[in-house]
């Protein structure tokens, strides 16, 4: 499989009040083809910052460094802001967590999709509208023409997230980073949105980085899983082999998952060893 994204020793550090830098991501390495990679970890483990660093959306005061950070042969660290912007949306898309906050409240959803397309393609308004409607249909929205004119507060969470997916896929990127795309949704809607995402990623042969804290979701949905702890990858494992995970942290996460009919007293608690963060 050809390598789409190559990340070697990625570090992201934020300045604190004293001017020292605190590392949120501390040397993450992985390579990605056109496959589905899951990144799991608890809050603050650096999984989201890893995704944002790839897109070039890290806050300006932060420091990003890596031995290698290439996308399809393009050195992202050496690329100019304009070059990185040209990649965003067009070749790398990102789905954010909560459509309530991640859609512009004063612009109707159709125009937000159109805008994503017109940022990268010279497409007339009418043609762009047609494509946006087709994209809305592709994310299984029933009456696209009607939904096109709705504002974000007028759509449900599940529909909002489908709009978000439509917006990020309309320019046909090669890689999609989904940052907790279903965490803000009702459980019943989660599966629906995931299956749409799954189908589109498969149809278009895209690479996918699926960031989540839901281990079970990731293992059923991805080919490979990175387990992150305190800014580092502690284990990389094929999703199918997750049950045979070696690392104590991964096993701890797994044993947190409840099973029907199981009695557990006391509840298992995640153990954390400062050694893992070394």
């Amino acid at each position: 499989m050809s390598i789409l994204l190559d990340v070697q020793n990625l570090k992201v550090a934020f300045p604190n009040r004293d001017g020292d830098y605190v590392e949120a991501v501390r040397g993450v390495s992985f390579a990605l083809g056109r496959e589905r990679l899951g990144i799991v970890g608890e809050s603050g483990s650096g999984k989201s910052q890893t995704g944002r660093a790839i897109l070039g959306l890290t806050a300006p005061q932060a420091r990003v460094s890596a031995d290698r950070l290439t996308f399809d042969g393009i050195d992202l660290l050496k690329a100019s802001p304009a070059e990185r912007r040209a990649l965003r949306g067009a070749r790398i898309g990102m789905v954010l967590q909560d459509p309530k906050y991640s859609l512009n409240p004063v612009m109707n959803v159709g125009n937000q999709i159109v805008e994503a397309l017109q940022a990268h393609r010279k497409v007339g308004d009418r043609e762009a509208r047609e494509q946006a409607l087709a994209m809305l249909a592709a994310v299984q929205i029933d009456r696209p023409a009607r939904v096109f004119d709705l504002y974000p507060h007028e759509v449900s969470g599940g529909m909002g997230q489908r709009v978000m997916i439509a917006m990020m896929l309309i320019a046909e990127p090669d890689l999609l980073i989904a940052d907790e795309p279903t965490s803000a949704l009702d459980v019943t809607v989660q599966l629906q949105v995931l299956s749409i995402l799954d189908r589109l990623v498969a149809e278009r042969g895209m690479g996918l980085i699926f960031i989540s804290h839901d281990l079970r979701l990731v293992s059923s949905f991805c080919d490979r899983v990175l387990v992150m702890y305190a800014g580092r990858v502690v284990e990389e494992i094929a999703a199918a082999d997750l049950g045979a995970a070696q690392h104590a942290y991964t096993r701890g996460l797994l044993s947190c998952l409840p099973r029907l009919g199981e009695h557990r007293h006391p509840l298992p608690v995640l153990s954390r060893d400062p050694e893992w963060a070394r």
Partner: protein, 355 residues
């Protein structure tokens, strides 16, 4: 909201129309109530202040029967509620009584002074918002940069330097020394009677009459006080714009816009400012209303025959009809601008549209 999706096609329009009518009804009700409140307050102020309107007319040496007659003519012997009803009726017809000071109907005086203030306040607000908003945006985008410092210093000066001092200094420099602008007053005496005061707004009247020389002269008189007021509102508006923009730029939808690969200018102007515009409407409207009240100090320094000067003069001369008339105008300005900003809210923010 589910109903929006399940109802028959076309149902949405009629639902929207009905909701709009309801909102309009509620809104008009609120306006009427606010007006009643305003008039009640002005009425009772007129009754409780220790100025006898009869004495103000007849003088304090008039014989008792004259005082009594005038009192009855003014309706002051009637019960208070009856007086209020009569007062309401008169005000609704635009009758604010006669000014003791000018012996004109107060309405006529206000027609003369209000356009002067309107012209000054409008240009002041155009300058204040026209420069203040872009400056505030710039300050927010380049946080900690030159523009940010400039906005900070400007706002500091705006808050701390008295306007009359700055006005006098501006007159000394730009009028007396450099001769770049016209001095006090609205227009040079030469042009004073060449133009018929159709609207009372000098720029409009001279433009309609095609008297471009007079127009230029009026503008040269207007520009300095308007810039001065504009400076103060700019100081405020730019600070507020900055803080609204900082708030919007930190929102998640900005991350989305970046992830889509939009240009920075589109993100700033079309996404962030478009959202910041909603609270900005209130800020600009309030600042405009503040200027429309008439700024006594500026009007005094520039000998500008506006509302602020009129109300202050009337107050000092116990000319209560004029004061109350002026107060009603100021109140109406506030109500009107509230109405306007409400309408703007509805156009700018889909979430506030009839629910």
């Amino acid at each position: 909201m589910t109903a929006l999706f399940t109802d028959r096609p076309g149902g949405r329009t009629s639902v929207r129309l009905r909701r709009f009518a309801g909102a309009l009804g509620r809104f008009l009700g609120a306006v009427v109530l606010t007006y009643l409140g305003l008039l009640a307050v002005t009425f009772f102020i007129g009754r409780v202040i220790p100025i006898d309107p009869v004495l103000a007319i007849v003088g304090d040496r008039a014989p008792e029967h004259v005082i009594q007659r005038v009192r009855e003519e003014l309706g002051l012997n009637l019960p208070l509620w009856k007086q209020f009803v009569i007062y309401l009726g008169k005000v609704l017809q635009g009758d604010f009584g006669t000014s003791v000071l000018s012996s004109n109907p107060v309405m006529q005086d206000i027609r003369r002074v209000f356009p002067a203030t309107l012209e000054l306040a409008t240009l002041g607000t155009v300058i204040g918002a026209g420069i203040g908003i872009p400056l505030g945006v710039w300050a927010a985008v380049r946080r900690g940069g030159i523009a940010d410092q400039l906005v900070r210093v400007m706002a500091l000066i705006g808050y701390s330097v008295p306007i009359f001092w700055l006005g006098l200094m501006a007159l000394v420099v730009f009028y007396a020394r450099l001769g770049w602008v016209g001095g006090p007053g609205r227009i040079d005496v030469v042009y004073e009677y060449t133009v018929t005061p159709w609207s009372g707004i000098m720029l409009l009247d001279t433009a309609i009459a095609g008297e471009w020389e007079a127009f230029a002269n009026a503008l040269s008189h207007l520009i300095l006080p308007a810039s001065l007021l504009g400076y103060f509102s700019m100081a405020y508006i730019s600070r507020m714009t900055r803080s609204f923009m900082l708030n919007e730029l930190a929102q998640e939808y900005i991350v989305t816009a970046r992830a889509k690969g939009l240009s920075e200018s589109r993100i700033i102007w079309r996404h962030a400012l478009r959202n910041a515009a909603v609270p900005l409407v209130t800020v600009v409207a309030l600042s405009y209303a503040g200027l429309l009240e008439g700024s006594v100090l500026t009007e005094t320094v520039f000998a500008w025959p506006g509302l602020g000067l009129y109300i202050t003069n009337s107050l000092q001369n116990a000319d209560m009809n004029a004061v109350l008339g002026g107060t009603i105008v100021v109140g109406s300005v506030f109500i009107g601008l509230n109405l306007l900003s409400d309408l703007l809210y509805r156009t700018l923010d889909p979430r506030t549209r009839a629910r």
